[in-house]
Symmetry: C2
């Protein structure tokens, strides 16, 4: 596997055993969800907005409308944001899957089992065919089969959609799994893990819809990876 | 219900119908989870880190060790961060619960059912009794009963723990529920919602633990709210 870049901010400083640097670890985290937290700087302060994402081998694509306010501040259509030094309009996108609670003997060792990825980069606002391809990628990641099944965007809808592409070059992946680390603690109590699972439920049909649930939606079931 | 403050950045600009401004809506979102995304600015760029939280009527408490890097930049122990104008070390904490996919007739109307809260503020690093009380609040929010059951932190552990308090004064809550909004679209396909549920699984005992699962952990079961 090729490695993720190690920059000053993606080098693992804390809990080093939890850090992974191979690209496959990044893709595993990306495949397991579809909502990320997009961090931007607005007037010097941070703003963190949840939004949907898709990805391919080189880029993360995020729906930028939720960040419309931040986009007004610095990133212009069809251009990279920032001051040309890669600064000012950089973003940090974090994807986190919470797998359970780590219930240790000591409060100090309590924690969470999780998988997370942080991606840093200067986003590009996509236009034209690039935008359409990214929107397809994002839609298919959320619900495979929907791009062909639903009505694809018309010119006006596409114009009203903002998609950002963020290079998958500078990223950090952390994973914590397994039991508490304080087995040597003399406080003799139960310890272990309380797992959490996130699972697709049966589809609920819009009362105004006239068609049965299609097969590609029926198949979109079971627990998230 | 008293209202949340409406500042320039918490005023709902987009999808106004999704915005809620009462404090009870904020507490509902906070009660439904225990992991937030903490956004800080480091060297002008955003950084978004997942971390656990607890809260009371006036403050959100977050485990600050994960933000140790950002804490080195501006926030000093026992003080508020920033330049005294509330700027520079402000944070944005976002909590998001993903409730399902909104599968519309058109790709353009696809989306996510969710509940989210964004909290803006300048955090204070807690010390002494305040830190201990906040750590108890945070632990009990994650796993009610564990503060009395597990071994409470000793002096050394407490010194190694950073807890931030962020006032719950400036916040924005958004909720999207229900079916797609494009029932008038002529593209005649199935439409509806694919719900997601997050559920506690049976506790897994650490093979090195010698005690049975305690009652307060057995009770910590079922779906998250």
């Amino acid at each position: 596997m090729s490695d993720l870049s190690t920059t000053e901010r993606t080098r693992h400083r804390r809990l080093r055993e939890q850090g992974r640097t191979d690209r496959e670890a990044l893709f595993e985290v990306l495949r397991a969800g579809f909502v990320c937290h997009l961090g931007v700087v607005v007037d010097g302060d941070p703003m963190v907005v949840p939004t949907v994402y898709g990805f391919d081998s080189g880029h993360l694509y995020v729906h930028g409308s939720v960040a419309s306010r931040s986009l007004e501040y610095g990133i212009r259509d069809g251009e990279s944001g920032g001051d040309g030094q890669g600064h000012g309009s950089a973003v940090c996108v974090t994807i986190t899957h919470v797998d359970g609670l780590v219930l240790a003997r000591s409060v100090f060792e309590h924690g969470v089992n999780y998988r997370s990825a942080m991606i840093y980069g200067v986003p590009r606002v996509l236009e034209g065919d690039d935008k359409l391809a990214a929107l397809r990628c994002l839609t298919e990641h959320m619900a495979p089969g929907q791009w062909e099944y639903a009505r694809q965007p018309n010119r006006k809808e596409l114009a009203a959609t903002k998609i950002l592409a963020i290079p998958l070059d500078e990223a950090s992946v952390k994973v914590r799994q397994g039991h508490p680390d304080d087995a040597d603690d003399p406080h003799d109590v139960w310890a272990g893990v309380l797992p959490l699972a996130t699972t697709w439920q049966a589809p609920i049909t819009d009362p105004l819809a006239t068609r049965p649930v299609p097969e590609h939606i029926r198949r979109h079931s079971g627990p998230l990876p």
